[in-house]
């Protein structure tokens, strides 16, 4: 009796989720299969979900054209920018979080409170002046423009510091008794224990950097230097009448974050509830 009562809501939930999942997955599947359609077939044969004939010409013609839309170069640019940005964030954030969470020094709480308070300033306000600063540094059309400014954020420090608060102080103190200095404690004792949260910071930094759109489209106008998100806007203008080629471009741009998601899904899902738990 009880199991029947339980199973009816479950069935309704299942059917609802199934319907929604189909809706959610259609654009992705359709985008993928369309990238394997022949453009002529797509334009003239009326609507068909699957390709009549599977072709790879959309990909090959994109990868061969290195002049006006160098997709491979864009992909490579994005990769360098995202990887270096992630490494920079990891170093900067773990160092700062350790100091604000573990070390005692004059002004510590004041500085940290100040940093937290600045989080309420929205980033839009910075757009114009940030461009001028980056320009003054000679970073327009340079990877650095997309790598460094994003590391100014405070939220990750807050997140890691919060995580640090749950790691018992005894480890630090034991190391201190053994004569370890702050640097040794940081590298030998604290850093290994921060691995789970730093993993989360790394994943979000990488995907955030890979997907950033507005800022790179402002700070890069050299086609050879821009990342793929900004490049796709050019691609859209270039191949507006050949949608199957556009689909191939979109699929290529999606691949890295998709692969990361396949392997690190649980980190993304854990981290969302983690950050909400802290803030809400």
């Amino acid at each position: 009796m009880k199991s029947k009562l339980l199973s009816f809501p479950k069935l309704v939930a299942f059917l609802f989720l199934l319907l929604m999942a189909i809706i959610w997955v259609i654009p992705l599947v359709w985008g993928l299969v369309t990238s394997f359609k022949d453009d002529m077939e797509f334009q003239t044969m009326g609507f068909k979900f699957l390709p009549v004939e599977w072709v790879t010409t959309n990909y090959t013609s994109l990868l061969v054209d290195n002049y006006s839309t160098p997709l491979l170069q864009w992909f490579f640019n994005s990769l360098i920018i995202s990887v270096v940005h992630t490494l920079l964030v990891l170093v900067v954030v773990s160092l700062a979080a350790f100091a604000y969470g573990r070390l005692r020094f004059k002004g510590r709480n004041m500085i940290f409170m100040f940093l937290m308070a600045t989080m309420m300033f929205p980033a839009v306000v910075n757009l114009v002046p940030l461009y001028k600063i980056v320009d003054t540094l000679g970073w327009v059309n340079s990877y650095w423009a997309a790598i460094v400014p994003g590391a100014a954020g405070v939220f990750n420090i807050f997140l890691v510091r919060q995580f640090l608060a749950n790691i018992p102080l005894e480890y630090d103190e034991a190391a201190k008794v053994d004569g370890a200095g702050d640097f040794q404690i940081f590298f030998k004792v604290v850093l290994p224990q921060l691995k789970p949260i730093l993993m989360v910071v790394a994943l979000f930094s990488f995907t955030g950097s890979w997907n950033d759109f507005l800022w790179p489209s402002i700070v890069f106008n050299d086609i050879e230097k821009m990342p793929i998100t900004a490049g796709l806007q050019l691609l859209q203008g270039m191949y507006i009448s050949q949608p199957t080629i556009l689909m191939a471009g979109a699929v290529i741009a999606i691949i890295p974050t998709f692969i990361i998601y396949l392997f690190a899904q649980k980190y993304f899902i854990q981290s969302m509830s983690l950050s909400a738990g802290i803030k809400g």
């Binding site: 299942f14 929205p122 997907n211 949608p243």
Partner: protein
């Protein structure tokens, strides 16, 4: 070996001075840890904020000298009806608000329903969860390219499914509908996970007690579920609203701001004025950005008040 020792000898002599000793007691190590961040933070966040406020009081082309003009930029975009920037700003501001009002409910209600269904733990719920979260991780430019074709008049699956030939991206109200549908599809992942975590924390016996009292599923949802996760819902309303105020990529690449500028949002104007093809008008762009920023800050402040009340 002896030479350095000798040269060191005279130094300890002026011992009576206390200052050097005091300096030694200051521990510089913490500063080594926080300086890298503080440096990046100052140059790329703190200085730009102050600089941006200053620019909004100037007339400037981003290259030459900035002329201080006081409140002229704000007056022009807010009140000077014959100025093209007035029209631009009022239109962009209105459209940004329309977008926020249209998209936020969807970005709250849809993930809430999904999370409730997932919370019943039906078969394959982990798999479903992965599918709903995934689009969030894709770049907006790739997402818009895919959806542009989804909404295509002749070849798009949506029109073919409906048996219609709607011009989704170039007529209203379809242009807004297309932008909002794309946005909801793209952005529900984070909120859904937050709701799932919150729903997990609602005590089971509350539902069991309600069942004994004869409450049905809908009653339980409104009487137990919603009140129990009020906090996380408020939180997501605020972060979603802030995120949607920054809308840019969807209208830019899906509708181009059309038809007739009816989906042209404020960030498109800011980008155009400061970095567009013409002469940069950085002062006006900055003033627009600061007004948009103030709106976002008001929302942030409301969040702060709500969280205060909760405690």
């Amino acid at each position: 070996m002896e030479v350095p020792v000798k040269s060191m000898e005279p130094q300890p002599k002026p011992k009576p001075k206390i200052k050097p000793d005091n300096r030694k007691s200051v521990n510089w190590t913490p500063w080594v840890f926080i300086t890298p961040h503080l440096l990046i933070f100052s140059v790329f966040f703190l200085v730009p904020i102050i600089y941006g406020i200053y620019i909004s009081f100037t007339s400037w082309d981003l290259i030459g000298k900035a002329d201080f003009v006081g409140l002229a930029n704000y007056k022009e975009i807010l009140f000077q009806k014959d100025s093209s920037f007035y029209t631009q700003f009022h239109n962009g501001f209105k459209n940004t608000f329309i977008f926020v009002i249209l998209s936020v409910p969807g970005c709250i209600i849809v993930p809430l329903l999904l999370a409730s269904a997932l919370n019943a733990k039906p078969r394959f719920h982990k798999f479903f969860q992965s599918i709903f979260y995934m689009p969030t991780l894709f770049s907006i430019s790739a997402v818009v390219i895919i959806w542009t074709l989804m909404f295509n008049v002749n070849q798009g699956p949506i029109n073919n499914f409906l048996g219609e030939s709607i011009l989704w991206t170039s007529t209203q109200p379809y242009a807004w509908a297309a932008i909002v549908i794309l946005t909801v599809w793209w952005c529900i992942g984070g909120n859904m996970i937050i709701y799932q975590a919150a729903l997990n924390g609602v005590p089971r016996d509350l539902y069991e007690a309600a069942s004994i009292d004869g409450a049905n599923a809908v009653q339980k949802f409104f009487k137990i579920t919603l009140p129990s996760i009020r906090g996380p819902i408020l939180y997501t309303v605020v972060i979603t609203t802030i995120a949607q105020f920054n809308v840019y990529g969807q209208p830019l690449m899906l509708t181009g701001g059309g038809p007739a500028d009816s989906t042209r949002v404020l960030l498109m104007d800011i980008q155009q004025n400061a970095f567009g093809s013409g002469q940069p008008i950085a002062g006006i762009a900055s003033a627009m950005a600061i007004i948009l920023g103030l709106c976002i800050m008001v929302v942030t402040f409301i969040q702060f008040l709500l969280l205060r009340n909760k405690e």
